[in-house]
Amino acid sequence: MDKNRERMLVKGNEAIAIGALDAGVECYFAYPITPQSDIPEYLSRELVKLGGEFVQAESELASINMVLGAAACGKRAMTSSSSPGISLKQEGISYMAGSELPAVIVNITRGGPGLGGIQPSQGDYFQATRGGGHGDYRTMVLAPSTCQECYDLTIEAFDLAFKYRNPVLILGDAILGQMKEPITRWKQRTIDPNEANEWKLTGKKGREQRILKSLFLGDGEMEEHNMKLWKKYKSMEQDLKWEEFSVEDAEVVAVAFGSIGRIAKSSARKLREMGYKVGVFRPITLFPFPYEPLRKLAMSGKRFITIENNTGQMVEDVKLALCGVTDTEFFANMPGKVSTPEDFIEPIKKMF
């Protein structure tokens, strides 16, 4: 990190909002919900100052459709919510994936199912990585674990959304949203008015008509469309991201994402002090999932334990990665329980 740049002490939620500003977000539409309301709070103040549009919509459904509309006009648009609110947005997300529209959607999760509670949970992994709404689609999913990553990955999310013309999801949780940590801003806000010139809707005068839609009724049209989307999702693998922490000489590798990933690092450090060689593999892109990097680790004979703040979701991807080489143990920290490094020590120790 560049020590000369000024650091600011902010919540993870605020870091996301600041990242969005620096990424050049022009439109933010959302409906408030705990534990992410610091995002709209911050943007209601700061985005407006910079000439952007901030609308607290009448509902989640309205807000995601406003995002869809703004995206169709080539704007950098964003919404944020928490688990039940994200469920309400799924129709719009599916339509955006179908219409190939870019946007950043932030889910600072809470416990479920239903209204659940406001305590931390990673229960939305399946929803996030398997599309979430109806239809055979995927959104790219980025899972930060520090406030700096909240800032960095939000900037990256916008670039990826436009690169692939696809919604990009940021998946955090209550721990990450509410904790404060220093961040360094490294990007000056710029808006490229030409980045969507190829496809955005501007009125057809003087050019061919453009139609952005997710309805394909013609013979073979939908098949062709799905094939195109599938190839696009496959191509996202060029932007895989993950972190390896002390894995080189590790005998056991804990696989964990987001806030649980960083908590597992503390467990690994403590275990190393006790003489157990433990490392952490932390996927940062959850879709696409870093199957190959994980498989490579498995080839060198390491043993694995997947740790999640749910009853077992990412573990299925870990199993797919390890398939035919080895298997993974699983430790579930129930949604609603705030995890500490001590919670993971016994389950990891058992593997020695």
Binding site: K3, R7, L9, P35, I118, Q119, P120, A174, I175, Q178, M179, K180, E181, P182, R262, I263, A264, K265, S266, S267, A268, R269, V338, S339, T340, P341, E342, D343
Partner: protein
Amino acid sequence: MYQDVIIAGFGGQGVMLIGNVLAYAAMEQGLNVTYMPVYGVEMRGGTANCTVVISDEEIGSPIIYHPKTLIIMNQPSLEKFQPRLVEKGLLIVNSSIVDESLVDKEKYYALAIPVNKIADELGDIRMANMVALGVWVGATKAVELDMVMKSMEKHMSSLKKQVVENNKKALLEGYKIGSGE
């Protein structure tokens, strides 16, 4: 260098404020730091706590089950957190309102300080949190007093100058006690 602390008390005693002041000071000193407020449905008069972790290395967990140090501002917080403190850990207790006989002075490095009384004598009982923070800074030397002073000024910039000055005095008073001066 690594240090962590759980600061706990009644809502309204300013435990979140001193957590923020401490975290900001650590950042300004060039260290890594995390600040984690309790997360839940809190109300005035209920208990409130926050965790601050300071290190010159990358910080893993912002949540700590067995803290190295504690600042305990009320009785329920002593009952909840004392058993979780690491052995020989620093235990700062507001003995103005906490029953000192319940403090395990054998197991922990305990400083029972009547921070309410000290703050009251300095002019305002509401500065008890700053006295307690001063004691912690004096005892741990995890951050420089000067940085904490500056951080406090920043967090209290909306208040009258005299209020800030009084809080500085409270912090300094605590610092002297914590450093054993």
